[in-house]
C-alpha cells in the first residue's frame, strides 16, 4: 500500500519528472492550440524521440502533452473558430460566439477550470475502476479479447463521422497493415510481397506519423491563405460563483466523457459531441441560446473531452487496448520500454499504473496554472505563419520516423502513408480507425488463433463458446447490437413500432 502511494507521488516528488510533466503540459497547450498540429501527431512524433529514455521520464512528458493538448485545442476554437483538434469541434459552437461578444477571456478561463474538473473526474475513475477491470480482465478468454477488439473497431467506425462502411474499411485496412511481416507462430511471411525489408513488419508509429503528420501537412496547404482573426482577451479567471453554477453540469458531462473514453477506440471527440448534445437536451434555461454563446455549450464538451483522457487509459492499462489514438501510441511506447500493457501490467508492474494516475493528477494541476496565464504569448504563437509551420512539421515527421529504426526506407513509407491518408481524407475516410486497426488487428489475429486452438480447430465449438460463456455472450450481444444499430433494419423496426405509425 505504502509502495503504491510512493509510486503515486513519484512525479510530484522527483524534480526531473515534475519538470517534464510541467514542460509537457505547457508544450501540449501550445501544440494542441495550433490548427493543423494535433495532440496525436505530437505524441506520435515525440514517442519516437523518447525510446532511449527511462520509461517514467517518457511517460511524464507524454501525459503532460496529452492533457495539455486536449485542452489546448479549445483555445483556438474559442479565439479563432478553428478547433485545434477533433475533440474541440463542439467547443467552437458556443466558444467562438462568446469571443465575438467580447467574452473570450472569461470563456478561456471557464474552459480551463472545467477541463481540470473533467480531468480530475477522469483520473479518479481511472484510479478506482482500472484495478477492478484489471481483475476481471484476468478472467477473459482469448475469444473475449477478440470480441472487445471487434467492439472497439465497430464503435470507432460507427460513431465517427461518415458512413460505417468507410469506418470498417479503414479499420480493416489498418489491420492488414498491422499484419504485414512474419507470422508470429509459423514465421511465414504475410503481405510481404517477397521483400525482406517487410518481414519485420511496418511499425505503426511510421503509419501514424504518415497519416496524422504528412496527410495533415498536405491538407493544410489548402488553408494556407486563411486570414487570422484576432480577439480581445481581458479578465480570464472566472468567479467562484460562476464555477459553482456550472459544476453540476460539468460532473454529469465528465461522467459521459469517462464512459465514452473507456470504450476501446472511442475518444474525446465523440465524448465532447455527446456531452454537448446532453447539455442541449437537459439544460432548460441556458445562459444564452445554444450556438450563440451559451456557457453550458462550452462547459459540456470541455469537461467531457478532458474526462475522456482518464477513461482512455482504462482499457489501455487493463486490456492492452487503446482507448483512443493517443493511448495507441502510448501502448507502443510501453512495449518499446519492455512493458506489456494488459491485465498482467497491473500484476507485474503496478508502479506504472500508480505512477500514471499520480502523473495525470499533476498534469491537471499544471494545466490549471498554465491555462490561466500567458494568453498574450499564446496569441502570438498561434499566429505563427503556416508557410513556416508546414515545412517544419514535415522535417519533424522525417526525424521522428528515422529515429525509430534509423531506416530511410521507413521514411519513404511514412511519406507514402501520408499521401494515402490525404487521398482517404479527401473521400471522407477517418484516420483513427486505420491506426486502431493496425494495433488491434494483430491482437485480434492472436486472440482468434488462440481461441480456435482451444476450440480444437472446430469453428462450431468456437461459436458455441460465444453464447455459452456469460461474459462472451454479453460481448457477442454488444457486437450484434452495434451492427444492427447501423443497418436499415433497426430504422424499419423503429418506424414500425413508433407511436405515429401505430396510430396510422
Amino acid at each position: 500500500m505504502s509502495d503504491n502511494f510512493s509510486y503515486l507521488l513519484m512525479a510530484w516528488s522527483d524534480p526531473q519528472l515534475l519538470m517534464l510533466t510541467a514542460l509537457g503540459t505547457f508544450a501540449g497547450i501550445y501544440i494542441g492550440a495550433i490548427p493543423g498540429l494535433s495532440v496525436t501527431m505530437a505524441v506520435s512524433i515525440l514517442v519516437s524521440f523518447t525510446f532511449a529514455w527511462d520509461v517514467n521520464d517518457a511517460l511524464a512528458l507524454i501525459v503532460g502533452i496529452f492533457i495539455g493538448g486536449v485542452y489546448g485545442g479549445s483555445r483556438s476554437a474559442i479565439l479563432l473558430n478553428i478547433p485545434g483538434g477533433p475533440s474541440s469541434v463542439a467547443t467552437s459552437f458556443d466558444g467562438y460566439p462568446l469571443a465575438q461578444q467580447g467574452e473570450a477571456g472569461r470563456a478561456i478561463g471557464l474552459s480551463t477550470v472545467m477541463s481540470v474538473v473533467g480531468g480530475l473526474v477522469g483520473t479518479i475513475v481511472l484510479a478506482s475502476a482500472a484495478p477492478m477491470i484489471g481483475d476481471l480482465a484476468l478472467k477473459f478468454a482469448p475469444r473475449d479479447y477478440f470480441l472487445v477488439a471487434a467492439i472497439g473497431l465497430l464503435l470507432v467506425g460507427s460513431l465517427a463521422e461518415g458512413s460505417l462502411a468507410k469506418g470498417i474499411f479503414a479499420a480493416a485496412l489498418g489491420a492488414i497493415i498491422g499484419l504485414v511481416g512474419m507470422d508470429p507462430v509459423t514465421a511465414e511471411g504475410r503481405f510481404t510481397l517477397g521483400q525482406v525489408e517487410l518481414m519485420g513488419g511496418i511499425h505503426y508509429v511510421v503509419l501514424m506519423i504518415g497519416l496524422f503528420g504528412v496527410a495533415e501537412v498536405f491538407y493544410q496547404l489548402h488553408n494556407l491563405d486563411a486570414p487570422v482573426k484576432r480577439q480581445v482577451v481581458d479578465k480570464i479567471i472566472p468567479s467562484f460563483a460562476m464555477v459553482l453554477k456550472f459544476l453540476p453540469l460539468s460532473i454529469r458531462t465528465s461522467i459521459i466523457g469517462v464512459v465514452v473514453g473507456v470504450l476501446p477506440g472511442v475518444g474525446g471527440d465523440i465524448a465532447a459531441l455527446m456531452a454537448y448534445d446532453h447539455a442541449k437536451r437537459t439544460v432548460k434555461n441556458p445562459s444564452k441560446p445554444f450556438g450563440k454563446g451559451a456557457y453550458e455549450g462550452l462547459v459540456a464538451p470541455e469537461t467531457a473531452n478532458s474526462a475522456a483522457v482518464g477513461g482512455a487509459y482504462v482499457p489501455m492499462l487493463t486490456l492492452g487496448m487503446p482507448g483512443d489514438a493517443v493511448t495507441a501510441v502510448i501502448i507502443g511506447a510501453l512495449v518499446i520500454h519492455g512493458l506489456n500493457p494488459g491485465p498482467m501490467l497491473m500484476v507485474e508492474n503496478p508502479h506504472i499504473f500508480y505512477f500514471t494516475v499520480g502523473n495525470l493528477l499533476l498534469a491537471n494541476i499544471f494545466l490549471l496554472i498554465f491555462g490561466l496565464m500567458g494568453i498574450k504569448l499564446f496569441a502570438k504563437f498561434v499566429e505563427m505563419p503556416k508557410a513556416v509551420l508546414i515545412p517544419l512539421i514535415l522535417v519533424l515527421c522525417v526525424v521522428g520516423t528515422y529515429s525509430i529504426n534509423s531506416s530511410m526506407t521507413e521514411v519513404y513509407w511514412m511519406l507514402g502513408f501520408g499521401v494515402l491518408g490525404y487521398l482517404l481524407k479527401i473521400f471522407g475516410f477517418q484516420m483513427g480507425p486505420i491506426i486502431l486497426g493496425a494495433i488491434l488487428g494483430p491482437l485480434m489475429d492472436t486472440s482468434y488463433r488462440q481461441a480456435m486452438s482451444s476450440a480444437g480447430d472446430h469453428p462450431g465449438e468456437l461459436l458455441q463458446g460465444l453464447v455459452t460463456s456469460p461474459l462472451s455472450l454479453i460481448l457477442t450481444s454488444a457486437v450484434v447490437l452495434i451492427l444492427l444499430g447501423n443497418t436499415p433494419l433497426l430504422k424499419k423496426l423503429k418506424s414500425k413500432f413508433s407511436p405515429a405509425s401505430a396510430r396510422g
Binding site: 504475410r190 513556416v388 515545412p391 488487428g441
Partner: protein, 156 residues
Amino acid sequence: MNKTDKMLVGERTFCALLLVFSLAIFYLAYQISGFSSANSPGAFPIGVALVMILSAVKIAFELIGKARPDCSGWIDAARQFRLQHFPRRTLIFGLLAVLYLAAIQWASFYISTFFFLVLAIVYLRGGRVLNAAGVAVLLLTVIYLMFTLAFSVYLP
C-alpha cells in the same frame, strides 16, 4: 432516393480502386496458406480481406442516388480532381518533399533540411529569401538543440 447529396469528383473511380485493392488483398491473403485450416496463418487475413471487399461494395452502393459532379467525361473529371485536390502548390510541395528525402541520403541532414526549409518557405510565403534563410537557420538550431542535445536521437 435522396438526390441532394453530391458525389465528389473522382469518387466513383476511387471506389472502384478500393474494390480492386480489396480483391488484391484477398488474393495475397489466400496465398499465405489458402483455406488449409481455420487456425492457419492466412485464416484471419482472409477474413479481414473479405470485410474489406464487403465494405468496399457497400461504399460503392452508397453512391447510388447521389447526384453526379458537374463534369463532362473522364478527362474533365481528372482535370477537376487534380485542380481541386492536387493544385500546383500541393504538387510542388510534394515534389520538394521527395527531393528532400532523396537529398538527405547523399547530402547531410542539416544541409538538405536547410535548403528544403528555405525553398519551401520562399515558395509558400512568396519571396523574401533572406528572411526564409534566417528562419531556416533558427529552426535548424532548435532542431539541433532539441534532438541532438536534449533527446539524443539519431538524425538521418
